[in-house]
């Protein structure tokens, strides 16, 4: 009996030593396992190129579509932003206004809310400009007096405010006429708003699609590794340990998909750059197409990785629990 007891103690100590891993060791092995899992998951994707490529391509396309639409909307918005600058309200003043009255009108215009700047153009200045630009200089010599009125150019802060400003300015004394040729711009603004909403809706729908695709791929992976999962659980693998490689796979699928999507988008903007520049030249515009950019690239990676991770998480949560040792 005594012999048994001493044996017991011996076993206990040995067992304890087996369990006695210091915190540092544990952290180190935890980190190592993360590294090894990342490496293995990458290798696994590379080792099954066809299956992985299909999933990654689906993700890439699903990311490319909303991203391309987003870039189009952003580019058009920049273009219309350029037009914004020339989107001015012309305010024509009644003839014979005195200088003091003009001054007080200037102050009133500047005082309106939503006004960025007010520029005064005297009748004489307008005439000079017309002479210089129109080429009718000599014909103007025959006029007895300057037919042009004094005018102001009012620059609204926002295109959306333009209509309201026009009504307000029309109410002012001494104002003869107000002109705004911006309806098409406002329509464009509305379209862009719709475009942005469409990007969100499309992005959400395709994001959901990516989650499902990754989820399905991970589900298949879990099923094909059923035996391994059973054994790992039997020898004391925690749920987190079992989950980890699948989560990494999902993350990698998403990131690879995002990388390929970035590649597609870059190709697309190169492809479109030529025609767009030609078109811009025709309109005497400095506009040139702007691509994803570095921060856009990072956001794309983040979205891709995040969506992949979510898909994997859902699949893992649903299917791993069902696999238990028997």
């Amino acid at each position: 009996m005594a012999a048994t007891k001493s044996k017991t103690r011996d076993v206990g100590q040995r067992g304890a030593r087996g369990q006695m891993l210091s915190r540092v060791d544990k952290w180190q092995s935890y980190r190592l396992h993360h590294q090894a899992t990342l490496k293995n998951s990458t290798l696994k994707i590379l080792r099954e190129p066809l299956q992985s490529l299909l999933t990654i391509l689906v993700i890439a396309i699903a990311l490319t579509l909303p991203a391309a639409l987003y870039l189009s909307v952003e580019n058009i918005r920049q273009l219309s932003g350029g037009v914004d600058a020339s989107a001015q309200i012309s305010v024509f003043v009644k003839k014979g206004a005195r200088e003091s009255a003009l001054k007080s009108l200037t102050a009133k215009l500047e005082g309106l809310s939503g006004v960025a700047s007010v520029t005064y153009i005297s009748a004489q200045d307008a005439l000079d400009e017309f002479e210089a630009l129109s080429g009718f200089g000599s014909a103007l010599q025959y006029l007895d007096e300057n037919p042009l009125p004094d005018s102001f150019l009012v620059q609204p802060l926002l295109i959306g405010d333009a209509t309201r400003l026009v009504t307000e300015i029309r109410e002012l004394k001494l104002v003869d006429d107000v002109q705004l040729d911006l309806e098409w711009l406002q329509r464009l603004d509305g379209l862009l708003d719709m475009g942005r909403k469409l990007v969100l809706a499309l992005g959400a729908a395709l994001g959901l699609g990516v989650i499902l695709v990754v989820g399905n791929t991970i589900r298949l992976a879990i099923q094909s590794r059923r035996d391994e999962i059973t054994v790992v659980k039997m020898v004391g693998g925690t749920d987190a340990y079992v989950r980890r490689p699948f989560l990494y796979s999902g993350l990698l699928f998403g990131i690879f998909g995002a990388l390929i999507a970035a590649f597609f988008l870059t190709g697309l903007s190169f492809w479109l750059a030529g025609p767009v520049n030609n078109l811009a030249l025709l309109y005497q515009s400095q506009f040139s197409i702007s691509g994803l950019g570095f921060s856009g690239f990072l956001v794309l990676l983040l979205i891709g990785g995040g969506v992949g991770l979510i898909g994997a998480w859902l699949a893992v949560g649903q299917h791993l629990r069902n696999i238990q040792p028997r």
């Binding site: 048994t4 044996k7 017991t8 076993v11 180190q28 004391g236 693998g237 925690t238």
Partner: protein, 225 residues
Amino acid sequence: MIRFDNLCKRYESGYEALRGVSFEMDAGEMAFLTGHSGAGKSTLLKLLMLIERPTSGNLLINGKNINRLPHSKIPFYRRQVGVVFQNHQLLFDRSVFENVALPLQVAGYSQGDIGRRVRAALDTVGLLDREKHNPITLSGGEQQRVGIARAVVHKPKILLADEPTGNLDPQLSAEIMALFKRFQDVGVTVLVASHDINLINRMDMRIMRLNQGQMEQDGVSYGGY
């Protein structure tokens, strides 16, 4: 080390696999669990592996009641237990070494520790020269020994075996049993479920016999059929 206290297990189908089983095993003791198929041997082992939970009664391991062990603690409990299966459950997508290393990887041992311990375990079962082979290329007896190496590589306090010699000829079976005896000699509590009567009788060990979910006999000498 192991204490069953009036344990009952009724499956959801209504089948009563164990009906009031009580027994105790000291640390470093070895025993055989026998009985007809369907007598409850597998269920008893599953309770010890926490694959199944008892319907009533208490199950104490090392003085601790593990009936209500939360799900999240189960992996840590299983790290103190080694299990050998009849179909050995080896993974054929990796080498013998990697199969045996699994319990250590799971518990977060360092690479160097894993190498040392895996080789020691393979040496014990006499398969040190096969570490790089795929287990599918090994014979049935060798595969079972790999399974045993995996069960003991993390030096568990308890070693459970479910029909470990089920598919082996008498010669190999005797070798496997001798191997279990060696683990008992170094202080491991060993419980082997088997219906290989001849083999068990020759081992001269404690034998527990289950019949229809009840402990029919518990002693060193075996009454036989």
